[in-house]
Symmetry: none
Subunit: 145 residues, 4 copies
């Protein structure tokens, strides 16, 4: 018989600085630009409040809210929104996630973790969710390593 | 010919006291702590208004809204949110439930019933919905017996 | 000619623990109980998300939202809501504050500060705003000293 | 008999580019930094949708919504929010402005006008509204000349 081990939960840390948020957003933007993608990139603190948002030229303005909500969801639930998307895709009971109004269930939101603490999150929107997710990860790597 | 019997509808009773809400929440917290789960526990009155809410250390802050809505849904519709979740999981026409914006369709919300009257509800969020539901039931048993 | 010195702004710190929030709320509740006041007491983290809320028996349920918003306002703007109330009372241009929808301009919200950082806030509602403010201060002293 | 001349209404133009929005925001930030002010600076397009937002370190997170609403109000009504504030300050019937929920009546929101067309707006929040307004003007001058 194995003992079930529960991982220690991820703690919320101090808010990400504007300087760090700028480096995260720039890495995401560089990834987007290299691919010719017009995107909105949002970085929030651990509380889900914006620290930086930029909309590349010709990105749809509907993506502003989506990018913000992806970052806020990643901060609020301490996980990637890709995880939510994949769970939802299995169908059946997981449709319940759609009734959680403070979560967007779409790839593109990634927590930012420093010294083992969540200090913020990045959210990206504008292309296919998979591309949004890649771009968010490109930004997150600046902090998450 | 049989007579169709409709159960008398559950009446709303007087609001749960803070003392009783505290005992409910403590039982839920003890269950969570014994399992190493970081959770948000909410207790509302029959009107769906908070009487007590506590967020255990390191629980995701997104769970605050989810726990509240689970309790409020259980009070508003006089049923467990697990019931809604199970109905939704059958698919088809039951997807209509997702358009009921004042209901969260996810295990973890349980009515509190005393002397045959609904006096409040408990909502729990933070882990898998099944674990949230177990924890809510552990709290509800203090009142529901 | 004097040099105008701008005080270094108050930093946001790590979230208040449930244990500390409980001590804050208990001190506020003791103050309320000693005066025979039925109140709602809310404690949030630095991001304005609830850590603890309790409604004393017979407190009006409308006070649940008011107490939460007082705490959230104190965290969001790093100041007491009494300050907002006093500014508004001077009339004239200060009426502009009423158009700030994310602020409640009523005594009873106080930041919680530890080691020079804002780690949360307390909000109290249920009686006259002055009494709400006194009760919030009674709670805040546990952390603020 | 004189002829009453009505000025041609200000037309909405094409959306401000991210490059121009960055220059506007940087000028505002330089003004804030020179004064030691921690502020949130938002730039929207003509539709009131964010193009760029940055929160300087230690700016209150409540200022995020306020800065956004100042910019959005300036774009939505094609005027400075200072104008609304001054009208409100005259009292009496002007209190009606407070019932316009899509307007914040507080200095710090300024339209951005290029070739006689409104292409966006800047909103600043974090200090006294007069200082917010000065900072927004410092940014707006980059475009408005």
């Amino acid at each position: 018989m194995t003992t079930q081990v529960v991982a220690p939960p991820l703690a919320y840390g101090p808010p990400i600085s504007l300087e760090a948020a700028s480096r995260v957003a720039e890495a995401a933007r560089a990834h987007a630009q290299a691919n010719g993608w017009a995107m909105v990139i949002a970085v929030t603190d651990a509380g889900g409040h914006l620290v930086l948002l930029l909309r590349m030229d010709h990105a749809a303005h509907g993506s502003v809210e989506v990018a913000q909500r992806k970052a806020a969801t990643a901060a609020a639930f301490k996980r990637t929104t890709k995880g939510f998307e994949e769970t939802l895709a299995t169908g059946g009971a997981t449709l319940r996630l759609l009734s959680m109004h403070n979560a967007i269930l779409m790839d593109g939101g990634v927590p930012l973790i420093e010294n083992g603490k969540l200090i913020g999150a990045i959210g990206v929107s504008g292309m296919h969710p998979t591309q949004d997710g890649q771009t968010a990860e490109a930004g997150a790597r600046v902090v998450n390593g």
